[in-house]
Structure formats: C-alpha cells, structure tokens
Amino acid sequence: MKAINHFEYPPDLQEVFKKAKRLEWISIGYLISTAFLVFMTMGNSQAMKTAWFEDLLSLTPAVSFLIASRVFHKAPNKDFPYGYHRVVSIAYLCSAVALFAVGAFLIFDSSMTLIKQEHPTIGIKVIFGHEIWLGYLMMAVMVYGTVPAIILGRMKLPLAKKLHEKNLFTDAAMNKADWMTAAAAILGIAGIGMGWWWADSAAAIIISLDIIKDGYTNLKQAVFDLMDERPKKVEDQEDDPLLQKVNALIEKQPWVKEHAFRMREEGHVYLGEGFVVPTDAEDLVPRIEKLAQEVEDLHWRIQEFVIMPVRTIPEQQ
C-alpha cells in the first residue's frame, strides 16, 4: 500500500482550481445581493417568492464546493486511510437534495395558491419620492439577477469539466438556467399587470418543475456515485472513456492471459482494482508494480490502482 497523493490536482490544474474557487466566491457575493433585492421587492408574488428560494438555494452548490475544497486534499491518516476525497461526493449530494426538496416544496406552494384562487396584490413603492408600480421593480431585479449569473455559469462550465467537479458543474448549469427562471417570473408579473391573477402562480409552477428536474437528475447521480457506480463523465451520465484506455493497457500486456477490473469515483479521483491471470509466475511482483504505475500514469484522476494476481477470472454478469 502506498500513500495517496497529497494534493489530487496536478500542478497545471491547481491554477484552474484556484480560478474556480474565486468564481464561486464571486457567485456567493452576487447571489446574496440578488436574494436581498428580490426579498425587498417580492411583495406577495408567488413567482418572486419562488425565484427567491431558488436564489438562496443556488448558494448550496457554491458553499458546499468551497467547504469541500478545504477538506478533500488532506492527506490520508490513521483514521481516514482512504483520504478525504469522498467529501466531494457528499457535497454534491447535499446540493442535489437541497435542489430537489425546494423544487418539491415550491410546486406544492404554487399549486395551493392556484387552487385557493388567491389573487396576488402588487401595489406601489415610493423610491426617492417617486411612485412606481412594484411590478416594474420586480422585473428590473429579475434582470439584474440574471445577466451576470449566465456569464458566471458560462465561465464555470469548462472549469468543471477540466476539474472533474460535478458540484461545480451543477452550479454552472443552474446559473446558466437562471435566465429561464427570471423570464418566467417576469412574464408572471407582467401577467398580473394584465389582470391575469393566475399568471404568477403558473409561472412559479414552471420554475419549480425546472428545479425539480435538475434536482432529480443530480440527486440520482449523487446517490449512484456514493454507491460506487462506474465512473461517469461530468457533463452527461455516460461512461468515462478513460475506462476503455485502462482496459486496452492491461489487455496488451504479454504476460496477462485474462483480466478484469473495476473502478469507482471518490470525488474527483478514481480508485480501482485489476485482477489478472498471469501466463507464468516469473517476475510477477515487478511486473505488477510496473503495470499499476502505468495505469496510474494514464490520467491524474486515476489515483490508485491495485493489481491482484488470480488463477481464474470469475464469470462476469
């Protein structure tokens, strides 16, 4: 057994990681300012309330990313012999649960408003002595909350792929999707202005459906990750092509007659075991050591690959 590397990102990615952390700090500051403005103007619009919850909620991935980033690179020790990598998966699970739960709550809340036929009241607000319909302010706040979020989201997406960081990816995807929430809220409020009292709740339901969809996809993936599913790519839930490379590398060893291997994700990194049936027992230990090193050198994400010589490979299901 060897010590798992102290820092999981190679030097060139450490810069990317720092940039990601900086972007998340900016996001947090910005989201708090939006949430404050939405709270100040939300009156009794259901869509604004929904958008406010979404703003608060979208803090979760950023906050859990930053917390996890202080923990995951700690060296393994006596109590945590596999290191702290999995804290990343736990952070991802937290974001997904938050997303899903709030989506579910909001859809219930908005539906009740529709069923009880509550008519939202939006009056005037006086700013520096000027009277203005609060609805216009709400629309302005929604626009303020959207444009920079889309830009931040676009900046974070490529970083998330490079870093194999699912939490960051979720966050970026949510930021990018924010414009839909804002558009729905603006239309809902414009609808109230037209005298369509239901427009607001209808918009809120559409926003909630979108939140639930994101929540469900991510919740499923987070649970699967913790259940040691085969490594999947960050951007879609497809098998990581890296697995093919590992397979090809083991296959081409002349001393390996048969083989099988399994891998799992621990946060950003992969751990795995390979089982090989050697042709003969000659130089077995140096051969195994060399192959294990070669597999680990394939990609920075393969953190540890243990090779075990066996007599036969059991039938695979």
Partner: protein, 159 residues
Amino acid sequence: MRGKWCVVFPLLLLWLVGAGCSNYPKDPEKTLEKVSNGTLHVGYSENPPWVVKGAAAPTGIEADLIKAFAQSIGAQIQWHNDTEQNLLEALEEKQLQVVIAGLTDDSPWSKNVSFTRPFVELGKKKHVMAVVMGENAFITKLESFLHQQASSLEKQVQP
C-alpha cells in the same frame, strides 16, 4: 429551443408593455372601472382618532381620506358599519372594496385581505387600510392617493 425563446420572449414582453401603457396594472375583476363614477363600498369600525362614528357618515382621519379619495375618482360612498372581524370577512368575499378601522400593518388579517402600504406612522405603528386582494389597478390608485396626502397627514397626527 433556446434560440427560439430568445426571439419570442422580448417580443412578448414588448407586446405586454405596449398593450399596458395606458392602464397598467389592470384589475382581474375590474374594481376600479366599476367604482369610478359608481359606488364605493367602504366598511368602517370605530377606532378614534382614525374612524369616529357620526350621524350620517363617519368622521376621523381615515374616513376623511376615503371621502377625498372617492371624490377624486367620482365615486359615491356606501358606508357599512360593523365589527372589524365581520367587515374583513365581507372584504374577503368582495362585498366591500375598502375597510377602515385604524388597522396597522402587523395585523394578523393580512393573509386573507391586502393592506395598502403604510400611509402614516404613529408611535412606531404603521397605519394601513384593508383592500380587496389582487385588484391592482384599484389598489395602486388608492396607494398613490394616500402617498400624495402623506405630508399633510404627518402634520395632522403630530402631537
């Protein structure tokens, strides 16, 4: 999908704003339209100095405000006197349009009826009127009227 919405959405918004310029926001049940040059149903419950019972019509700060407001939109006032609870229930069922009873914005009733924005503050209590929910043109009109009276009201309630 996304590209299409980028075009549709601004157009939709433009149409909404364009359509609404003259009278925006509107009432779902046309309260302002019905009340203007018609009858304004006002519920009142005695609470001096805001509402004081009189022979034909109530007097007091809030009663005077409502009289002036009704005049500004050409409405005749039909006064209804009852307890605060009965009045607010009638308001919820849209039998009344406004209730005055020296209400403040921390009243627990705010869930079933709407309050105007506070029109005057006295001893840390923010005074409001109760209005029918969601009739935004009517409410905006009343709030705007109350706001214009704000400075004279401040002087009136100064001890």
